[in-house]
Assembly symmetry: C2
Homo-oligomer: 193 residues x 2
DNA sequence: CTAATATCTAAACATTCGTTTAGATATTTT
DNA sequence: AAAATATCTAAACGAATGTTTAGATATTAG
């Protein structure tokens, strides 16, 4: 009887690397449009390998979203450690704009794109990931707004909702409109606060 | 030789009526998710009839977008005949919110949804329809902004772009967020102007 | 009534989709 | 070196897609 299973061949690819490539493709084309055939070519590995590593197209997509969030966390941590109040939030908006400029071939924001594409009957875990993302960002907004003087709790809540919707709008609009138009959009968002 | 072709059986359905039903289904589910099978059931006619009337799924979708724009024109004509300047534009935003409340089962805005779903390689005529729609609305915004005193042309152009992006954001956000949150969003948009 | 013709139903079409399987290949442990 | 086993390639799977076709049905004109 074997307690330790004999190991054989090891994987010829890094899972992290191929997820990054898959994420990029989903980002560019959306979930439905991206086929397993396209993923094979982009990831540089066979269907068998994809399924043995990620189980299903849905599983791969879920990992892609996690990967995207990790990529975005470079920006969100700035907001996390910020003590600049509203100014810090504004910087976050501009950081997102810069982020989407750096990834210009991938239109918009993967989270927003996915939220726009998928219906209510989509995979629950994916819907939860999207929901989670929004809640997390909103909390950061609330914290930063709390640093401002003269804002009671209901105002903070109201502004945070407003900012979330604005961010969502920015994410969608960044698929279509030019960057200089979007910076005007951001400026106007913050004229209010 | 016949100059007048002998007429036989006439269509058992109104094309206008079935387009409306198709539009509603596309609106709810998006282009890709909506299959011909679903369309058959929703429209109450056979695939053959759909193809003989509209040529293809794309053709049917194009007619659906036109139908949607006609449905929306009830709102846009209000903006057209308005002499209220910025206030008229604000009323248009609220009218859209009311419109999307009346059609709550159809999430968001069909034009925005489609713009978010389709890539650059989509049917050119559909992309043109979407582009046309944005240009038309922007012109109306420019006209209404022109009624306000103290706005030079560059400011008008800047504000019109801002409003278009805001409208686009509102259209996307209306898929996800509650109506009371969206009215706050609208109020904040217009605090600037 | 009869011939002509357009619309109807329903089945079949070729493709593509996501997923699975069979067999060859490579690597590790004994 | 040899047995064991995981990964690889490549083909096949059933189901679903948009589209087309064949034949029955209904309506019009002469």
């Amino acid at each position: 009887m074997y307690l330790f299973i004999k190991m054989a061949r090891s994987k010829n690819y890094s899972e992290e690397e191929v997820i990054e490539k898959a994420m990029s493709l989903f980002w560019r084309n959306g979930y439905e449009t991206t086929s397993m055939q396209m993923l094979e070519k982009e990831m540089g590995i066979n269907k068998f390998s994809i399924y043995s590593s990620f189980g299903s197209k849905n599983g791969l997509f879920l990992e892609s979203i996690k990967c995207y969030k990790k990529k975005l966390s470079v920006i969100t941590t700035v907001l996390q450690s910020s003590n600049n109040g509203i100014q810090g939030i504004k910087e976050y908006f501009y950081a997102f704009l810069e982020f989407s400029k750096e990834n210009e071939s991938c239109k918009g924001c993967l989270v927003t794109n996915t939220s726009n594409e998928l219906g209510k009957d989509a995979d629950p875990e994916i819907l939860m990931q999207l929901q989670h993302f929004i809640v997390e960002i909103k909390e950061l907004f609330v914290n930063n707004l709390g640093q401002e003087a003269g804002l009671d709790r209901s105002k903070i809540e109201e502004y945070a909702d407003y900012l979330i919707i604005s961010l969502y709008g920015l994410g969608s609009a960044s698929r279509v409109f030019r960057k200089d138009q979007l910076s005007v959009f951001i400026e106007n968002i913050f004229k209010i606060l």
